[in-house]
C-alpha cells in the first residue's frame, strides 16, 4: 500500500512539476503576478511529493519488502540497516529517485529562501527547474520505475553488491548528486536571465552561493569515491581516469571555473556572457555524466548494461537542455550588456587565466573520455585513452594554473601590480626552492620532475598562507592588531585562502604518493617478517571470522618500528553470503608520513599467503585537501548568508552602527 502511495506521489509530482513549468513562465511573460506566484507553493509541493515517494521506497528497503521488484533485485534481509537504507540509491531506479528529490530540494530552497528575488526572475528560475524535473520524473515513470511489484514475491532478495556495502560509498552518491544537481540552479538562473534578457551583478550574487554549495558537495562526493577506491579495491589506487570518474570530474572543473568567473561578474560586472555560458555548460556536463553512465555506452559489454531505451531517453533530455540552453544563449547573449573593464594584470585578469586553463583542462578530459567512443562509432576502430594520455595533457595544463594561482589574491581589481605580488610571494617561492633541494638530495628515487611537483604544491600552500599573512599585516603590526585584523577579515577571504591551501595539499599528496610509493609483493608464511618504509611487519597467521552477512579470513600482522610495537593490522579476504562475492579488506595504518597498506592475497601451495605491502607517502593529503576545500566553501557561504539575496537585511545591517 505504501509503495502504491509512493508511486502515486511520483505521478502527482510529475503533474505538479508540469504545472510549475508552464504557469509561472506564462505569468512572467504576461507579467501577471498571480500566475507567477504559484511557482513557490508548487515547488514546495513538488518537493514534498518526491520526498513521500522517496520515503515510500526507503520504507520498502528497510522492511525488506521483496514484493517490490527493485527491492528484491537489490536488497537482502540480512543486510545491515545502513546498507538497506543506502541500497535505495545503490541501483539505477532508486538513484534516479534520489536525483529528482535533490533537484526538487534545490527548487524548494529557491522558493523558500528567494523572497527577495525579482518576481519574474524567480518565476522563470522555478519554471526552468520544474522543466528538468518534468523530464527526469517522466524518465523514471516510463523507463525506470522503482515501484513495480512482482508476484509472487521471492523469499529473499538478490542483495547489494558487497563492494558497495561500505560507509563511504553509502554517502558518496547523495553528495555527488547534490553537486551535480546543484548546478541545475545555476543553469536555471542562466536560462531565466536569458529569457528575461536582463542580467546584472545581483544575478551573480544570487548564483554564486548555489554554485558554491553544489561545488562543495561535488568536491567531497568525488573525494569520497576516490577514498573508497583507495581502501576498498585493494591496490591503493585513488584515481584511474576512468570514464565514469571523468564524468564527475568534468562538471567539477567547469563548476570551479564558474565559481571564479561569477566572482568577476559579481564584483566588476564583467564576464557576464561567459558566466552565463559556463553556467549552461556546467549543468550540461552533469547531464552528460548522467547519460554516459546510464545509457550503457560505457559498459555495453557487461551483463548489467541497461535497457537501450533509457540511453535514448537520457540522450534526448541532454540534447534538449544543452541544445535548448545553447540556442537560447546564441539568440540572446548579444543583448547582455558587458560591464567593467580591466587591465590584463589584475584580479580579473588572473581569474580569466584561471578560466582559460580550467576550461581547457575540462575540454581535455572531455575529448579524452569521448574520443574513443566517437572514433569507434565513426570508423569502428577501437583505441584506448588511459592514464598516460591524461598525464601528458592534463598534467601540463595544471602547472601554469598552480603557478599563477597564488598571484590572483594579491592582485587588485582593475589594475594589479605583478611585481608587488611577486615580492609578497617571495617567501613561498623560497620555500618551494628549499623543497626542491631537500627532495632531490634526500630522495634518490622517483621521477626527476617529482621534487618540482612537490615544490609546486608547497608553493601554493605557502602562497595562500602569505595571502592571509599579508591581509592581517603579519610582521608589520603588533600581534593583537594582527588578531584584530584576522577576526575582521571577510570570511570569504579566509575561505579563498583555505580552499587554495587545500589545492596545494592535494598536489603534494598526489605527487608524493605517485612518485615515492613503496611496494613489496611476496609470499609470507606465518612467523615471517618484512620491512617496508621503516616498518617491520610480522605475519602471525590467518584466522577465520564471521560478520553479519559475510565470512572472512583475516590475516594478523604486527607492525613495529625500531622495535616498538605500532599497531596490529588485520587485512581480510571476505566472502559475502548474498550475493556470494569476494572482496578484500585492506589493513591500513595511517601515519603522518603516509599510510602503511597491507593486503592479504591468495593462499599458496606451501602454506604461505600472497601478501602485498605498500607505503603510500602523504596520500591522505589528497582527501584532506578536498576536505579543506569543502570547509573553505562552508566558511565562504557562512559569510555570504546575510548579504546574498537579502538586500533588505543587508541594508538594515549597514544602517546599524559599524561592528
Amino acid at each position: 500500500m505504501i509503495i502504491e502511495l509512493g508511486h502515486f506521489a511520483l505521478v502527482l509530482a510529475f503533474l505538479v512539476a508540469l504545472f510549475q513549468m508552464v504557469v509561472p513562465a506564462y505569468g512572467a511573460h504576461v507579467r501577471d503576478s498571480r500566475l507567477m506566484s504559484v511557482a513557490e507553493p508548487a515547488a514546495l509541493c513538488q518537493f514534498a511529493l518526491l520526498l513521500l515517494a522517496f520515503l515510500a521506497l526507503m520504507q520498502a528497503y528497510v522492511t525488506s519488502d521483496f514484493s517490490v521488484a527493485n527491492v528484491a533485485a537489490n536488497s537482502h534481509s540480512t543486510k545491515p540497516l545502513l546498507y538497506r537504507i543506502s541500497g535505495v540509491w545503490g541501483n539505477h531506479e532508486g538513484s534516479m529517485v534520489l536525483w529528482v528529490l535533490i533537484l526538487a530540494l534545490f527548487g524548494a530552497a529557491v522558493a523558500a529562501f528567494g523572497r527577495n528575488l525579482p518576481a519574474t526572475l524567480k518565476a522563470n528560475v522555478l519554471s526552468v527547474q520544474a522543466s528538468i524535473a518534468v523530464a527526469f520524473v517522466l524518465f523514471i515513470l516510463l523507463t525506470s520505475n522503482p515501484f513495480v511489484r512482482i508476484d509472487p514475491p521471492p523469499a529473499d532478495g538478490n542483495g547489494l553488491n558487497p563492494i558497495l556495502q561500505d560507509p563511504a560509498l553509502a554517502f558518496h552518491p547523495p553528495f555527488l548528486y547534490t553537486g551535480y544537481v546543484g548546478f541545475s540552479i545555476a543553469y536555471s538562473f542562466a536560462i531565466a536571465a536569458l529569457i528575461d534578457g536582463r542580467i546584472d551583478a545581483a544575478w551573480a550574487r544570487w548564483v554564486r552561493p548555489w554554485t558554491l554549495g553544489a561545488w562543495m558537495f561535488l568536491t567531497l562526493g568525488i573525494a569520497m569515491g576516490s577514498w573508497w577506491a583507495y581502501y576498498e579495491l585493494g591496490w591503493g589506487g585513488w584515481w584511474f581516469w576512468d570514464p565514469v570518474e571523468n564524468a564527475s570530474f568534468m562538471p567539477w572543473l567547469a563548476g570551479t571555473a564558474l565559481l571564479h568567473s561569477a566572482l568577476v561578474m559579481e564584483k566588476r560586472d564583467a564576464l557576464k556572457v561567459w558566466t552565463v555560458l559556463l553556467a549552461i555548460l556546467t549543468f550540461s556536463l552533469s547531464l552528460m555524466g548522467t547519460f554516459l553512465v546510464r545509457s550503457g555506452i560505457l559498459t555495453s559489454v557487461h551483463a548489467f548494461a541497461v535497457d537501450p531505451r533509457r540511453g535514448v531517453f537520457v540522450l534526448a533530455i541532454m540534447a534538449l537542455f544543452t541544445g535548448g540552453g545553447l540556442a537560447l544563449f546564441a539568440l540572446r547573449a548579444r543583448d547582455l550588456r558587458q560591464g567593467g573593464i580591466f587591465a590584463p594584470i589584475s584580479r580579473e585578469g588572473s581569474l580569466v587565466l584561471n578560466n582559460i586553463l580550467l576550461t581547457t583542462a575540462c575540454a581535455t578530459v572531455f575529448v579524452g573520455t569521448l574520443y574513443p567512443l566517437m572514433l569507434e562509432s565513426l570508423t569502428g576502430d577501437k583505441i584506448s585513452v588511459g592514464p598516460p594520455y591524461f598525464d601528458w595533457t592534463f598534467g601540463p595544463l595544471m602547472v601554469p594554473l598552480l603557478l599563477a594561482l597564488p598571484f590572483g589574491p594579491f592582485l587588485a581589481w582593475k589594475r594589479g601590480d605583478a611585481y608587488a605580488a611577486a615580492q609578497r610571494l617571495a617567501f613561498a617561492a623560497l620555500l618551494a626552492l628549499v623543497v626542491v633541494a631537500l627532495a632531490s638530495v634526500a630522495l634518490h628515487r622517483g621521477p626527476i620532475l617529482a621534487p618540482f611537483g612537490l615544490a609546486l604544491g608547497v608553493y601554493v600552500m605557502a602562497g595562500s598562507v602569505s595571502d592571509l599573512a599579508w591581509r592581517v599585516r603579519l610582521g608589520s603590526v603588533p600581534l593583537d592588531e594582527v588578531w584584530r585584523r584576522f577576526t575582521g577579515l571577510p570570511r570569504s577571504a579566509i575561505g579563498t585562502a583555505l580552499a587554495h591551501f587545500g589545492v596545494g595539499m592535494l598536489v603534494v599528496g598526489v605527487v608524493a604518493t605517485s612518485a615515492y610509493r613503496e611496494e613489496r609483493i611476496l609470499i609470507m608464511k606465518p612467523g615471517e617478517q618484512v620491512s617496508v618504509a621503516g616498518y617491520d611487519i610480522a605475519f602471525r597467521g590467518v584466522a577465520p571470522a564471521t560478520g553479519p552477512n559475510y565470512r572472512e579470513d583475516a590475516g594478523v600482522f604486527d607492525v613495529s618500528r625500531g622495535g616498538a610495537a605500532v599497531t596490529r593490522l588485520e587485512p581480510a579476504r571476505r566472502i559475502y553470503d548474498m550475493p556470494p562475492e569476494p572482496t578484500t579488506e585492506a589493513g591500513i595504518h595511517p601515519g603522518w608520513r603516509g599510510d602503511l597498506y597491507v593486503v592479504l592475497g591468495d593462499p599458496q601451495a606451501n602454506g604461505g599467503y600472497a601478501v602485498r605491502v605498500y607505503f603510500n607517502p602523504l596520500v591522505r593529503l589528497i582527501w584532506l585537501g578536498a576536505v579543506a576545500m569543502f570547509i573553505a566553501g562552508a566558511i565562504s557561504l557562512s559569510d555570504r548568508r546575510l548579504r546574498v539575496g537579502a538586500p533588505g537585511r543587508a541594508r538594515r545591517i549597514a544602517a546599524a552602527p559599524a561592528e
Partner: protein, 170 residues
C-alpha cells in the same frame, strides 16, 4: 552512482577473474629488480582487455596475468621496452595501448588540448580588446583632466595609511 556502477563493473570482473586475488602475484615477479621495474612500467601502459580502463598492472583478470607473464617473458628474452610493447600490440591491436600512438586517427585527440587552449586564449583576448575599445568609445577610460588629477592627488594624500586593496569584503 557513477562510482558505484564502475564498482559493479569491477565486481563482475572479480567474478570473471580468479577470486579475490589482485594484480601482480608474487610468483610473477622477476628476480632482477631492474627488469621487474621495466616490466611494471610497461604493464602500467597496457590495457587489460576484458576490464574497463584498467591496466594489466592493476587488474586481477586471468588475461591480465597472462599478459604480465608475456611481458616478463619477452623482457627475459632480451627485448627492449619498445619491442615488448610492439609485440603485445601486434597480437592484441592498438586497443591494448592505454596511450594511443600518434596517427591520423588520433591526431585530433592529441592536439585537442592545444586547440582548446588556443581557442580559449584567442576568444579571451578578442573579447577583452572589444570591451576595451567599447569603453574608450563610451568615454569610460578617457584620461583625467589636470583639475581631476589635482583632486585625485589631494584625496590620495588624505589617506595616511594605505590599506591593502582587498581588506574590503569580496
Amino acid at each position: 552512482m557513477r562510482r558505484a556502477l564502475s564498482a559493479l563493473v569491477l565486481v563482475l570482473l572479480l567474478l570473471a577473474g580468479a577470486g579475490a586475488a589482485m594484480a601482480v602475484e608474487p610468483d610473477e615477479i622477476l628476480p632482477d629488480p631492474a627488469l621487474e621495474a621495466r616490466a611494471r612500467h610497461i604493464s602500467s601502459g597496457l590495457r587489460c582487455l576484458v576490464c574497463q580502463n584498467q591496466s594489466i598492472d592493476d587488474s586481477n583478470a586471468p588475461l591480465a596475468r597472462d599478459l604480465r607473464l608475456l611481458v616478463r617473458e619477452r623482457l627475459k628474452a632480451g627485448d627492449s621496452d619498445a619491442q615488448v610493447t610492439r609485440f603485445i600490440e601486434d597480437r592484441y591491436g592498438e586497443f591494448v595501448l592505454l596511450s594511443p600512438p600518434l596517427s591520423w586517427r588520433t591526431l585530433l585527440l592529441w592536439i585537442a588540448p592545444l586547440i582548446a587552449l588556443l581557442i580559449a586564449v584567442w576568444t579571451s583576448v578578442r573579447a577583452w580588446r572589444r570591451r576595451q575599445a567599447q569603453a574608450v568609445r563610451a568615454g569610460g577610460a578617457a584620461p583625467l583632466s589636470a583639475e581631476e588629477e589635482k583632486r585625485l592627488a589631494a584625496i590620495l594624500a588624505e589617506r595616511e595609511t594605505p590599506t591593502p586593496p582587498d581588506s574590503r569584503p569580496q
